[in-house]
Symmetry: C2
């Protein structure tokens, strides 16, 4: 063959090759798809307790089954925590991202929104983060322990109007109505009210006496899978602060979405080298409780700052993102807020 012919050939083949490589890349990184290296789950933490002095009983476990003797006296497994993880085929996050939900809820918080849109779990996996999504001790797939034998208080159940009024969806007491058309919403609310019934289906009973076992299990999780970044919502906020204070070498950043409490002020210095941001939605000022809850966090920030730390606050309305309820990750603009978090993480150098 002549040189010209060889050049013609190589160019032609190169063009074809490029075309096919592009084809592959397009398919494997297609935005609608989720490519996983693997996914799985495990339980961690907990302890064994022994109960005694209770009567034995025959129980037919399954209708049409065969009765079995149940002796309630003995050793039980309690206070463990469920964790589901997803490892993307193409990791772009430099550290795993742990998602911790709020009170009376489970890891479902970060899955599909109550009105059927993609949640933060899919968003951050698609951004290339390895994500560990857990159900705190006492809820969801973590199971719960007998009370008052193990959990010392009764569980709390929430009526349908309670979160509607408390999570800055409705305009205060009396704002809830079964009919979305008759709900009294805060002006410009981003909560998908057509999915409110489904949101209530996500709720699980909660205890108010289980902070210690919850923190113990989260700490074991951090010891197992970190260094990592913790993204925590509401009640998960104080848990994240406290676990970071206990493991400042393992928790490399904190993203706190409307934290419902703070860490231990006496140990604020433990957080001085951990980048952390608190993110707030809309309607804080006119709420009965959120001005105090937020003020407590800002006061805690002062203690961290006094120790040399640089805690940050992002008020979504201040950057033009308005109408967010307490359930930011479910609001209609949930992915816009996720992008704010992704940008903050990238700014901290955690994205490849």
């Amino acid at each position: 063959m002549t040189h010209r012919l060889q050049r013609y050939l190589s160019l032609g083949l190169a063009t074809i090759a490029t075309a096919f490589v592009a084809g592959c890349a397009h398919r494997t990184s297609h935005n609608d798809h989720i490519g996983l290296k693997t996914m799985g789950s495990f339980h961690i933490g907990g302890r064994e307790v022994t109960l005694s002095g209770k009567p034995t009983k025959m129980v037919t476990m399954t209708q049409g089954g065969v009765p079995v003797k149940i002796d309630p006296n003995g050793v039980y497994q309690v206070e463990q925590m469920y964790v589901q993880y997803f490892v993307p085929a193409h990791e772009k996050g430099k550290l795993p991202l742990l998602m911790w939900h709020g009170g009376g809820l489970s890891g479902v918080t970060y899955e599909t929104t109550p009105d059927g849109r993609e949640g933060w779990l899919n968003y951050f996996i698609k951004q290339g983060w390895t994500v560990y999504n857990s159900d705190a001790v006492e809820r969801g797939r973590s199971g719960w322990a007998m009370y008052p034998d193990v959990f010392t208080t009764d569980p709390v159940f929430l009526t349908k109007e309670n979160p509607f009024e408390r999570f800055r969806i409705g305009a205060g007491p009396g704002s809830y109505n079964k009919d979305p058309a008759k709900m009294k919403l805060l002006p410009g609310s981003q909560f998908p009210t057509e999915g409110y019934d489904n949101f209530m289906k996500q709720g699980v009973p909660r205890w108010t006496s289980t902070d210690a076992p919850i923190i113990a299990a989260y700490t074991e999780l951090v010891d197992k899978v970190c260094p990592c970044i913790v993204l925590a919502h509401s009640q998960g906020g104080p848990f994240a602060y406290k676990v970071a204070q206990a493991r400042p070498d393992k928790v490399k950043a904190l993203v706190l979405v409307e934290p419902a409490g703070t860490g231990d002020a006496a140990k604020a210095a433990a957080l001085k080298d951990i980048p952390n941001v608190s993110i707030y939605g809309d309607f804080i000022a006119q709420d009965a409780r959120w001005p105090t809850i937020k003020a407590n966090n800002l006061k805690f920030h002062e203690a961290i700052r006094a120790a040399g730390g640089k805690p940050e606050v992002i008020d979504l309305p201040a950057i033009g993102i308005k109408g967010n309820s307490h359930m930011v990750m479910m609001d209609k603009n949930n992915l816009e807020v996720a992008a704010v978090i992704q940008k903050w993480l990238a700014g901290q150098g955690f994205v490849r």
Copy 2:
């Protein structure tokens, strides 16, 4: 260019093209990877109940939080069911596969095994099935309702030795020991005893009075996502039989792994056109309860057969697969048994 040159070129390009296409196929169907078109979750079913006459109380939901008034009187959401789904990028199953777990457990049953190996969820997704993995009403991410107000009985908790002896892992009463080295196992048991503590962490409290709401929610799931195939374990078996009897047009096949009960004998004819197979592990004959449980199912099969149906039974030991406990999907040979199910489904024409 001469004709010979054109032929040389086209052959060359064709070869390159084929090579790259093969390359793509290899990457996207890599056995260690999970390619998903999408994944998500939803809750389905349930009802609202109204409670009244109970005292109001102030509750501090989060340690360090602000007290909130909780009025327990009002409308509650109860008896819904959680469902997580995975749609593979390359579907090979002709229908969705619904996975229903057994009593006192949740969808975690089908996830990573207690000793950390891949479970049936990943296996069937990798085989190209769209899978819906649910937590039955009352368990896991489905939440549970107040008792005795809504659920009429107390929950049942299991001691650590109970499933060990009852699920054909240990050799009867007294066989459990905290130390795996001291456990008295059935000879040749395939259960991963090093993971027994983790298996107990997967357990959730169970009620014996909730069959009706559980069946109602499964029926709603079938109405939403079927036609489909239902793979059910233990207590899930009778639920699957009964839902199939209620929706014979939507449930196209039943794979029952050690069903703990049967359907309604009076409605056996409803199952005559639905391919169904019951799969049993090892050690049935020497167990205190399983000979009766299995005999009940075989008797139910007779009723289906009398109506013209062809229920099948696969005794794993009879085909050379020995040592399986009641928790077949967690045993060391769990993927070997999954392959038996995959082969049966393919034999029924459900695989593309």
